[in-house]
């Protein structure tokens, strides 16, 4: 599936992703203001399946998971960055938003048409055919993401535990 690339720089912080003044509201409202301080039309121009690519330390700052949730709500297929801030990275996986590290990103242009292959861990630039290798996720996070995030993962675990208990009773 081809999608559009939205390019951002280093140190994108959580106040840009989920501005404090909208934190009391719902995710719909927050998502509408996502990154507006840097790029006012961002929320209205993203389509489902698009990809955000950024520099280092993406998502630094607050632990508010709405920063990742807003990106997911806007329909982004993944965020790719040279590096991520630790809490944002965990939050994104927990919410089922793929976040992938690409330490050696080549020169990219905003608006490039790309195709993302999450299974292979590659991002391909449609025009040049260039393939960018993304770092594979650690095994424990692969499982979390495959389950759709932490909540479905825990549901699965609890249901297994319950079945086991029932099995022992029988």
């Amino acid at each position: 599936m081809s999608s559009r690339l939205f390019l951002f720089g280093d140190d994108i912080d959580t106040d840009q992703l989920a501005p404090g003044q909208y934190m009391k509201g719902g995710i719909e409202e927050l998502a509408a203001h996502c990154l507006e301080g840097i790029r006012p039309a961002f929320a209205s121009s993203v389509s489902a399946g698009d990809v955000l690519v950024a520099g280092k330390n993406f998502g630094m700052g607050s632990s508010r998971e709405q920063a990742a949730e807003a990106l997911k709500r806007l329909g982004l297929a993944a965020v790719i960055a040279r590096s991520f801030a630790g809490i944002f990275y965990r939050n994104a996986i927990n919410l089922g938003l793929p976040v992938l590290i690409a330490p050696d990103l080549p020169e990219l242009s905003d608006g490039d048409i790309v195709s993302l292959d999450l299974d292979q861990g590659t991002l391909t630039l449609t025009e040049t055919g260039r393939v960018i290798q993304l770092e594979p996720l650690p095994d424990n996070l692969k499982v979390l993401l495959a389950d759709g995030g932490l909540v479905p993962h825990l549901k699965k675990r609890f249901s297994k535990e319950r079945n086991k208990e029932h099995g022992q009773c029988a």
Binding site: D11, Q21, E65, N91, F158
Partner: protein, 428 residues
């Protein structure tokens, strides 16, 4: 026994392992979970209901309201009400309107050296000042902790930051952290364990150490540790923490433990620092900053308005007036610190000079309520971060500095070095 770090000792114990290897993914049992009104009940309860489970241990959960206090918007008031209902229903310890979570948690005796603690806030590394491995998580992850009592982590390496010699008068923990943000960058901590050590750190009070640990977040560390010592013990005893079962002497990084990095700095040559908009890493000596007029001086948040921060500000302000055209806003970090400061005459000194005292809450630093910086306002703030638009309008310009520097700037009307204000005191 293999030489190991303080961080590795704590996470190994919490995982029930004799030995851990950096980089390995382990599952730890959580000794304490701290949540607040923003990422807490309103976010975790729907997940707990969805999972069909209760709390793993209600006695290991502490709830503190601070982000939406005082409830000055309809939504904020509604969130606070929901928070209060939840505390009753789930029967957890609840500190309501008593101050900012990172300050209230240790002052109420909830922390002990060696604990593994998760907090629903990015400044949770503050608990590291007490020798606890404490780190921040988002609400979904917190819901998982509340449901299971467990959390995974990657065994951290340690980045040791040593400050030799002593800080000069007028130079504080905030100056150390702004200097470190500039030198190491906002990702210098690489989501590993930062640990502070050295003569200057050993000489610091607990409130100053809390500022160091808190701002490990600004370095991008997962935790910000300081090995416990007599200073730690004295604070915790006074706070009522039960320390009988704590073997605090073993909670230190062994001399020959492998480290990711070791950075050595001289505290004696450090001067007061400021960070220019819009990053704590835009830092440098205040006396090299361009002359910048201010309209707001803010003493607030978890690193900038504790008792000692207020006392430092009062040492500058005593006998002075706030410059005309400048508003000095003070949001003491906790009720306990404000009461102590009031009893010692510190609040009086600030008010006499024209300061306005605000609620004991995150306030303008979080920017969640009605009190926010207006268009084009230039502010100097004793808080921990100055990202664009965080404290108000996107056009507002926030500089960071120590409480000394904020107070001196409030008197001068522009950003200035606090040390000349302390000259008489230094001479005496």
């Amino acid at each position: 026994m293999m030489a190991t770090t303080l961080a590795q000792k704590i996470v190994a114990r919490a995982a029930g392992l004799d030995h851990v290897t950096p980089g390995d993914v382990i599952t730890c049992q959580v000794d304490l979970a701290m949540i607040h009104d923003s990422g807490g009940p309103r976010r975790v309860e729907p997940i707990l209901q969805d999972l069909g489970v209760g709390l793993f241990d209600k006695d290991k959960v502490v709830l503190i309201s601070d982000h939406f206090v005082p409830g000055d918007t309809d939504e904020g008031a509604r969130i606070l009400e929901l928070t209060r209902q939840w505390a009753k229903q789930r029967q957890v310890t609840f500190h309501d309107g008593e101050g900012i979570c990172h300050v209230v948690l240790p002052e109420k005796g909830h922390l002990k050296p060696g604990m593994l603690v998760v907090g629903g806030d990015s400044h949770s590394p503050t608990g590291g000042a007490f020798g606890a491995y404490m780190f921040g998580v988002g609400a979904t992850e917190m819901a998982g902790v509340l449901a299971t009592g467990e959390i995974w982590l990657k065994v951290p390496q340690t980045i040791l930051i040593e400050w030799q010699n002593q800080l000069s008068r007028g130079v504080t923990a905030k100056d150390i952290m702004l200097a470190l943000c500039g030198k190491l960058g906002m990702d210098g901590g690489q989501y590993q364990a930062v640990e502070y050590t050295g003569e200057a750190i050993a000489a610091l009070s607990m409130q100053e150490r809390m500022t160091l640990s808190n701002m490990a977040a600004e370095l991008g560390g997962q935790a910000g540790l300081i090995g416990p010592d007599e200073t730690t013990l004295a604070f915790l005893k006074q706070a009522g923490a039960a320390l009988d079962d704590v073997d605090w002497r073993s909670l230190k990084t062994d001399a020959d433990a492998p480290l990711m990095a070791r950075h050595v700095f001289d505290a004696a040559t450090l001067t007061p620092q400021v960070a220019a908009p819009h990053s704590p890493a835009n830092s440098g000596p205040v006396n090299e900053a361009p002359k910048t007029n201010i309209q707001v001086a803010y003493l607030g948040a978890c690193t900038g308005a504790k008792y000692e921060d207020l006392r430092n500000a009062a040492a500058i302000i005593k006998g002075n007036r706030i410059a005309s055209g400048v508003e000095l806003l003070v949001a003491p970090s906790s009720v306990q610190d404000q009461t102590r400061a009031a009893n010692d005459g510190i609040i009086g000194i600030l008010e006499d000079a024209g300061a306005k005292i605000l609620p004991n809450a995150c306030g303008i630093c979080a920017g969640y309520g009605t009190h926010r910086l207006g268009e084009d306002v230039t502010c100097i703030s004793s808080t921990a971060r100055n990202f664009k638009g965080r404290m108000g309008a996107a056009s507002s310009q926030v500089w960071l500095g120590s409480p000394f520097t904020v107070a001196a700037s409030a008197v001068a009307g522009y950003i200035t070095d606090p040390r000349p204000f302390l000259k008489e005191e230094i001479a005496a």
